[in-house]
Every structure is written in structure tokens, then in C-alpha cells.
Symmetry: C2
Subunit: 625 residues, 2 copies
């Protein structure tokens, strides 16, 4: 419904007041929450939902609907209130805020159909918004992406990574709004109401900046108009607001962050707010909502991915096979996109770039926005592979955590894992990346050892739903699997087994080859071991591992190019513990250093010779009980 | 030695050429490395070491010596070459670059006496430099801090966190240099040689920016002069350079990133470089070095920290005791500093701020620079406690990794751990923080359950050398220890034991109280369990745990407010595995949600009732073997 500005303004003002009332009520009902952080953004929210955005309240996932990401996730109550006011669900639900039985949680998560990414860890929403905006280009849609940030949040470095990428990529379909309400949690923010500080920064980073009074609805609407008409760069609307706006005892007042009103305070507040309702406004919120253009979107049917074509025994790095698999996926499935952080020539993602340059996103050296943008892309139907050296994915650990919470369909790929990279030294060695990803309950964690398994597992990663991590190595390793071998997620491969096996040795990645060397060496001296390639750490083949442990009288050795905590050993131990089996772990147990890969495997205790010694010691020793 | 500019310039030019030669030679000897990234910064390095900086080559840790941090750590060869040229060690050592036996690693680490923090994960050095600069204020020294960044590195968000803090804190004793050599690893950088892009950004962030030709030594010296004379804000020198400068076949050329020259290329390069040596320059590098002012510094003797003073049974949150302990430490030890990220009123670090405001550093919502600055402060003798909600420390995971590599003496404190925070929901719940810190071999990880142990362990954290993490909880918990109880690092407390114990139950933090409840419940039905408070996860009391496991016939249950991977269960399992014992783990195994703390402990399987059920099941079940 189109409405002239003069009649629109009072309607929006009333909607904003209603949103304030609902935010206050729901947080008081919950006994906690951030009502005053909602009050400051109420006018902006009303203008956004009931005039600017094109969306369908009952079908928020319409691929051509505008997106709204609440980067300052603690203002969740007003997000919920806005969707309720739009008609997405019944307003009475709001009073279940923060209860165990309700999806209206303290901070938004994609359990709610209208939430694309979980927010609440500040500085992430704008990175996800970059991904949503890039996705519009991918699918050729004119939908716009809106993201609302807090002013305190703007101190997060990830915001400026997003600012760089948004400016460089000229994302004029992206509009940020910073709710400059001056007050942080514990004190005034760094720049308080000095809007020029914000303006200077965003302009320097290549954005169109607009400074407005964030409680002047007409100014807000004008700013949205200006943003929509700004071409070649994204817009950041810098809205000067008051925290706690609209209620005399909270407006601009300290010590109200993250506090729900007491019942008597709530009554006073509602009385004050209700007085602000402009009488005689007939129009209702849902009538004002603009709809996205109706558009048929063809169903995407990916073509089959050609199988690997290696020769057994050839020396091929898994990172190279990774690049090849991506290139094949790029041809087969238009949903697959790749994000890089200036290492594409080492990770071999440049092979994807060659076949699908329009779906290859270069973030330069900025891992947080790389993963954050992947989260946004995945929320809009893409299958993104954010890829860099495994150690640098760790820079985005908190994004990984939030992607797990949101169960985003992202496929992290980390190359150059472990000490087997050699001379570059510890700063380039990922030795905690498995811990980062196996910690998260929603993650699938895969770890190929050869080119065939690498290609197969990359295709699996794209296929399974939810967040996946694939750990990839730097060195060349021999191809040990035939091209038609399959690698189901949650499986393992028994590479050697016999009835005489005295110990089960479990490797993954480069240590599979150390286990195989140890097998040969022990075999020649008459000792037989079972060798397992644990290519899937999560989910893990508990049954297969227990069977092996049983067959080798509970003697289990793990060997991994990772620190002792949170890696292969812990994963195996966790899987077989309830069957009563313990695990002897070979892992990196001190800070490593530069050296040749084979020297380092030896020095830090994860080479074949250490496996042989561990087998001897386990077989020799009576198991203490 | 003071030298006039006219005779200084050719000397510095020659030193720069020598540094290029040494960088080329050492990387070719190593067979890997980044010679061309050294070439671009050679003139800057020569000017810095042999004219600008005041330091003692043989005593780099002089507390009044200027600091130099190489943020682009991959240019390590020229850092080493400069220190060798200064006389810190013999130049012949340079040819051992990247060998296992040498401390001249691929990227710098504090194994070398002249390196303050490990670099090589980009964007971190400037954060550490903030800490070094803050430390000069703490100790009342006029030393200056220099930090050299790469241009590609400037895309990292952490750089802009540091920029904000440096500008806000008016750190005019800090001087950055950006080596704008235009070429990244895989392609030209985002802004290439558009120096205005850099200038705009640094100026907007409150720095004095100076654009120069980074190969014009005179211009470099003038820029350093200007920086030294700029008051009230830090300076960023933006130096336009050529990657591979000085050698015809590398200068400004693509595809030379991270590549050592082959032997024949090296010979050609050296021949070209040697031709650039200005003849007849008599003065040698070491003669040019400026010395720091000689100054007596009194030895710091901290006073004893008053013991805790709680009443058994009182309800006190560990976070509150943490704040009290910090306040006591603040009075007792002038080396102790606290860094906050706008949550001081929730973590109670504001109690430290009250007693030692000049040693309290507010970073606002920017966890990376908070931890990075702590690394720099610790390198200069401070004992920093960077503190925020445990989940947000995860934003700085990669800094934690690098602090572990550098064995920096930082004391991370993370409050609001786990699902026991309740209604705020999963984004605010740290459930992987123990994994982050136990993964690192050099970390001490502590986890108090009550106010007495919290105070005691905070004091221990300050006392032990190296990186420490203290996990702190939100809810009030009863005081269970007398005020004179001691908590040695690496210990545990057996809270209940008897000869009849059938199972050992190990809790930590809030789950200690669930274990105690389970004990009471089981006791009343005639079952006796051993209850352990595992307040020290790393180091861990292996002997004590094995003794308990033996006493309870190998039946061990862990219960933790953390995900299953990398937490208490894995730590215990790792400790007792080689004695043949497995661990039954109760942990959070799915993405949690908002709710009341007690509801969540129940719902996600870590409450007393789950412990009781697990005990029953373990005792009932025959142990499979």
C-alpha cells in the first residue's frame, strides 16, 4: 500500500511507540534484557519495516525479499516486536521472551524463520550482511540488505573488515544504519555523540555516509531514499539517538544497559509511551508493508561432479586436490561460491576462480569478514567455501562459534595444517583448528589424507547440510585410494587388519602415512597392527572404533599433527570411553619451531618411529587396572 | 655517535643494501622465505636501526630502549639481518635461517632476546605495539615504540582496533610504518599504490599520517623526525615502496611472494646489489646506533596480597571475587594492569579501576587489541589481565594462539562462562573457551568454583610465569573453602572421599555444586561417591586423578559447563588414559538456548540429576573390556 508521507509519518511514529511498549513489556516479563537499547532504534525500525523494506511477513525466506540483520543482537526484543507487528506471529508470543520453550531467545538465532544469522557477538552482523549483498548479485536479484549496528559495536575490527570489502565491492545494495545512542554497557562509548568521528571513518572506507537525527522519522525515510539512490558504494546511515528514548527515566540515562524494568517502572513507562500515541491514525502496520516483486526462480539442479582421476602412488598434495574439487563443483553447482583471504595461489582456490570468477570473492587479508560473508551467503542459499591457511581461520574463531549456533551451511577449508608445513614456523601452523571445530556440536569435521579422499570429501562437504570443516595439508602425499572409493561422512577406513593385530593405530591426514610406515616396520619384525584412516572426526564412527579397540584388546594409539587437546585423540577417546577403552595419544605437546617437515614430525613425537615405540610400550606393558 | 645528514645518508643506503644482500643469502640458504618482502623495507629498516632508534644491541631488554615490532613477520630475515648488523650476534648465524637448530625461525618469536612478541599472524604486531606504548606511560619512560606493517596486512580488522585505541589514547610515543609495496601474496593488494586510501583511513582514525617514498632515506629520516615531534597522537608513516626493490628481476614483479632465489638468481642479485654500494663510506652500522639514556630503575617488590575474607556458605559470584582479587593485586603490585572491553561493571574489573585507574586500560568493544595490547604490556614487564566475557575472548583466539607461541605473561580472565549464564542465550555462552586454552601447550588453565578459590587463583595467575587463563562464572555460588585454604597450580581438591566410594565425580566451576548435590542425594540412598573440584586443568594433577580412578575401580565421571570437546572431560581423560582408565563425560552436547540457569543445566545434561543417573548406570553396568 502506498501512503503519502504526511499520513505515513504519524503512523510510523505510532508503530515506533508500539515497538517500545512491546520491548519494555517483554523484557519485564522475562526479568532481563535490553529495553533501552531497543528504544533508541524504535523509530528506525518502524521506518524500515513499515515503509522501506520489501518483504513478506509470513514468507521471510522469499529469495527476493529485502534482508534485515540486527547486528546489535541484544536489541532482539524490538526485532521480535517488529516481526510480530508485521504479522509474522502473534504479539502474545512476545511475552515468552527468553523462556526455555520459546524461540524468542535473548539474542536472535536462525531458529526463527526471519533470522538469517545468529547475532549477539558484536561486529558480526555487518560481515554477514556483506554476504547477503553479494548473494543478490549471485542470483541476480534486486533485493537490498539492511544491517543495524550499535555505536559501541563499531570498535570491533570486523566492522572495518566489512567496511573495506563493502566499499571495494561497491555494494550499493547494502545499507547500514548505526544507532549512535552514546551509551555502551559500562560507560559512554568511545566517540559518544561525536557523529563526525563515525562519518570520517565510513567515508574514508569508501561508503556514502549520511548523518541524521535517528528519532526524526522523516529524516530516516529521506536517508533510506538517498541510500537507495546512491550508486557504486554502500551507504551507512549514522543516526544520532538517545538510549532509552521515549521514557523520562531511561532516556539518555546511565546504568540502564541490559536491565529490564521492574513492574512499577514498566507501568510508568507504558503510561508515558501511550501518551505519545498520535490519535486518529487509522492505518495499521501490515497494510504499510511493501512487497517484493513476484518472480519465478528456477529450481537449481546441480550436475554430477566428475570423479577423481589420480594414479595410485602419485604424489599429490591434498590442497591441490581441494582446488581441483572446487573447480569441478564450481562447474556442477551454481550455488557453490569460494571466499579467499589472499592465499588462493597456495590453497589452489584459484582453480575455482578460473572456472567461476563471478562466484569467487576475494576478501584480501581479512578472515573475519571472509567467514562472516560466507555465513550471509549461506543464509541466502549459496554453498560457500571460505578458505585460507587453517591457522588463519582461527582469526575467525568467534565467527565459527556463531556459525555453529546458527547452523549456517558454510564449508570452512583450512590448508597448511600442522607442523608438517615445516620451515615457516609455529605462527603458520594450525594446531588447534580441530579443537575449534570439533568443539562445536553442529559441525561436521573431515580430514582427508590423499588426493582421492580430498576430492571426495570436498564434494561431501558441499552435500551435507550445516557447517563443515575440512582440514587440508600442505605436503604432497601418495594417492592410496582408488578413484571410485567413497568416503561417507561419519566413516573411517581400515587400511590394514588381521586377526593378529595387537594394537589399533589411528591416524588422519599426514599421520596416516606415518602409521603406514610404522606398520611396515613392525610387520618386518613380526608385529601386526591395525591401521585406521580417521577421515571423519565429527560425526565419528563409534562402532568401527570400538570394534577395532576390541579386536586389539583395548590397545589404541592415536597419532595426529595437532596439539593434544581437542584433536584426533580426544575425539577417539570420547567415542570409545563409554565402552571402557582408553586411548594412548601421540600429538604435538610443545610449541613447535621451524625445521624440515620430516625433522619436525620426528622432533615433536608424531613420526613412524614414535608410533613403533608406542606400540612396543603398549604391548610390552601390562595394562594397569 | 652523531653524524651529519650528508654523511649519514650514504652510510644508511649501504646498510640497506647490505640488509638486502643478507636477506637474499639467508633465504636462499634456507631454501624458502620472503626475500622480496625484505627488500621493500630495507631502507626503512636501515634508517630505523642506524639512526632513529635508541637501543643496546647486546641488551635489547633495556627497559628504556625503543621497541621495534615487525608486524609483517614474514620479513623476519631482514629483522635478523638488522640485529646482526647492529652487533647483537654474528652475521654468519643468518645462514642458519629456518633450520631446526636455530632460533632464527621463519617468523620471529621471543625465543630471540630482541623479539617482544611472536608475529607472523598478520595484524597483531600493531596491537602489541599499543601495549608497549602504554607500558612506557606505566613505567614513566620516554622510550618510543615502532611497528612496521605490511600494506596487505592493513585489511585485518585488528589493525583498526589498534588504530582506534592508539588515537583515543593519544599515543604520541608510538610510530607505525606501513610498507606499501603494492603486492600481496596472490595478487596486488586492495589499494595497491593508492597511498591516499591509507592516508584517509589513518587520518580518520585520529593518527598523524605522513606519506613518503619509502626508498628515499632522507625522506624516511624526516618522517621519523616529524613523528617524534608530533604531540597528542600517534603517527603512521605510509611508505610507498617496491616489493623486491634493488634487484632488476624482482623489483615490482609478480609471483615473487614467499620465494627464495635459486643459487644462480642469488648470484645475479648480489652482483646487482653490490654495484649499489656507495664507495668510500667509512662509518660502520654499530657506530651509528643511538643509545637509550642511562637510567636506574628500582626493583619492584610487591607487597603481600591480603587473604580472602568470606564466610562459609555465603553466596558470592566468582566474578565478584575476581574483581576483589584484582583490586587487592592492584594495590600490592604496580606491575599488574587490567584491560577491559566495555564490560567492567559485569566482570567487576571496575573495582581494580577504582584503586589503580592509571593502570586500567579501556579498549571498548575490541577484544583483539585488548589481548594484543596485553601481549605488548607483558613483554615490557607488566602483568596484564585482559578481561571480558569468556565467549568474547574467543574473538581474540588467534591472539591467544600467538601469545602461547610467544609464551607471553598474560592473564586472560573470562567471566560468564557456560550455559549457567541463563537467559542471554548461546551467543553469550562460552562453551569452547577451555578448548581454546587447554589446546595451547604453554597455557596454565584455572577454574575456581567459589569466592575463596577465585581470589586465591587470581593471585596465583599473577604469580606463575607465562600465559594463564582463568575461567570465571556468572552465578552466585556458596563459599565452600575456608579463607586460608591454598590452591597450588596443578592441584585439585577432594571434597568427599571414603573407602566405599564407587565412582569418582569430577566437576569444576558451577558443576562442583551439582556434584555436591548428587553426592548428598546418592548418600541418602546409600551410595558413596568421591567428589573432586578440578580447579587446575593445566597443569593437571595426573597422580591425584589416577589415585581417585583406582580407588573407584576405574569409574570416573566428569561434568562440565562446556562443550564435550577440549574441556574438563578431555583433560581428565588425557591425564589418566595411559594408566588405562576411560572417562564418562557429562558435557553440553548440543547448541544451547535461552532459559533459566537451573533449567538449562537440567536440559543440557550437566545437573545433579544427570550425575546421579550416570553414577547409577556406571555402577550398574559391567565395564566392557
Amino acid at each position: 500500500m502506498s501512503t503519502d508521507r504526511a499520513s505515513l509519518l504519524p503512523a510510523l511514529k505510532n508503530l515506533a511507540t508500539q515497538l517500545r511498549i512491546d520491548s519494555a513489556r517483554s523484557t519485564t516479563a522475562a526479568g532481563s534484557g535490553h529495553p533501552t537499547s531497543c528504544f533508541s532504534m524504535a523509530d528506525i525500525t518502524a521506518a524500515l519495516f513499515f515503509s522501506e523494506m520489501r518483504f513478506e511477513p509470513k514468507n521471510p525466506q522469499n529469495p527476493d525479499a529485502d534482508r534485515f540483520i540486527l547486528s546489535k543482537g541484544h536489541a532482539a526484543p524490538i526485532l521480535y516486536a517488529a516481526w510480530a507487528a508485521a504479522g509474522a506471529f502473534d504479539r502474545s508470543e512476545l511475552l515468552k521472551l527468553r523462556q526455555l520453550g520459546s524461540d524468542l531467545e535473548g539474542h536472535p538465532t536462525p531458529r526463527l524463520p526471519f533470522v538469517d544469522v545468529a547475532t549477539g557477538s558484536l561486529g558480526q552482523g555487518i560481515c554477514a550482511a556483506i554476504g547477503c549483498a553479494l548473494n543478490a548479485r549471485r542470483i541476480g536479484s534486486d533485493y537490498r540488505t539492511y544491517v543495524l549496528l550499535g555505536d559501541g559495536e563499531s570498535a570491533e575490527g570486523s566492522v572495518w573488515e566489512a567496511a573495506n570489502v563493502g566499499g571495494r565491492d561497491k555494494l550499493d545494495n547494502l545499507c547500514g544504519i548505526t544507532d549512535v545512542n552514546r551509551l555502551g554497557q559500562s560507560q559512554p562509548t568511545m566517540w559518544q555523540h561525536d557523529l563526525a568521528q563515525f562519518e570520517r571513518r565510513w567515508t574514508a572506507f569508501g561508503w556514502h555516509a549520511i548523518v541524521i537525527d535517528g528519532h526524526d522519522v522523516n529524516a530516516i525515510l529521506n536517508a533510506f531514499d538517498e541510500a537507495r539512490n546512491t550508486k557504486g558504494r554502500p551507504t551507512m546511515i549514522l543516526a544520532r539517538t538517545e538510549k532509552g528514548k521515549g521514557v523520562s527515566f531511561t532516556e539518555g540515562k546511565d546504568n540502564w544497559h541490559g536491565k529490564a524494568m521492574k513492574k512499577d517502572e514498566l507501568e510508568k513507562a507504558i503510561a508515558e509511551l501511550e501518551k505519545q500515541i498520535v490519535p486518529g491514525v487509522g492505518v495499521k502496520g501490515p497494510e504499510l508493508i511493501r512487497k517484493p516483486a513476484a518472480r519465478e526462480r528456477p529450481v537449481v539442479t546441480p550436475t554430477p561432479v566428475p570423479p577423481p582421476s589420480y594414479k595410485l602412488g602419485d604424489q599429490v598434495a591434498t590442497r591441490e586436490a581441494f582446488g581441483d574439487a572446487l573447480a569441478k563443483l564450481g562447474v556442477a553447482d551454481p550455488r557453490v561460491v569460494v571466499l579467499d583471504a589472499d592465499v588462493k595461489n597456495s590453497t589452489y582456490t584459484d582453480r575455482f576462480e578460473k572456472v567461476a570468477p563471478e562466484r569467487f570473492f576475494e576478501n584480501f587479508i581479512a578472515e573475519q569478514v571472509m567467514v562472516g560473508a560466507a555465513m550471509g551467503l549461506s543464509a541466502r542459499g549459496a554453498i560457500p567455501f571460505p578458505s585460507t591457511f587453517a591457522c588463519f581461520l582461527y582469526r575467525a574463531a568467534d565467527f565459527v562459534r556463531m556459525a555453529a549456533i546458527g547452523s549456517n551451511n558454510i564449508k570452512l577449508a583450512g590448508t597448511h595444517a600442522g607442523i608438517s608445513i615445516g620451515e615457516d614456523g609455529p605462527s603458520q601452523m594450525a594446531l588447534e583448528d580441530l579443537a575449534m571445530c570439533t568443539a562445536e556440536p553442529s559441525f561436521t569435521v573431515l580430514y582427508p589424507c590423499d588426493a582421492v579422499s580430498a576430492e571426495r570429501l570436498i564434494v561431501e562437504a558441499a552435500r551435507v547440510k550445516g557447517p563443515v570443516y575440512v582440514r587440508i595439508s600442505r605436503p604432497k602425499t601418495p594417492v592410496i585410494y582408488p578413484n571410485d572409493e567413497t568416503f561417507p561422512v561419519g566413516g573411517l577406513k581400515v587400511l590394514h587388519e588381521s586377526a593378529d593385530d595387537v594394537v589399533t593405530v589411528i591416524g588422519a591426514g599426514v599421520t596416516v602415512f606415518e602409521a603406514l610406515k610404522a606398520y611396515d616396520e613392525l610387520k618386518s619384525s613380526g608385529t601386526s597392527i591395525r591401521v585406521i584412516d580417521l577421515y571423519s572426526l565429527a560425526p565419528i564412527d563409534t562402532k568401527g572404533l570400538i570394534a577395532a579397540a576390541k579386536a586389539t584388546k583395548g590397545r589404541v594409539i592415536t597419532v595426529e599433527d595437532h596439539y593434544a587437546a581437542g584433536g584426533v585423540g580426544d575425539a577417539v577417546a570420547g567415542a570409545i570411553a563409554d565402552a571402557g577403552f582408553a586411548v594412548h595419544r601421540l600429538a604435538v605437546r610443545e610449541i613447535p619451531r621451524s625445521g624440515k617437515p620430516e625433522e619436525l614430525l620426528e622432533r615433536f613425537g608424531i613420526s613412524a618411529s614414535h608410533i613403533v615405540a608406542a606400540v612396543a610400550s603398549l604391548v610390552g606393558a601390562a595394562v594397569v587396572r
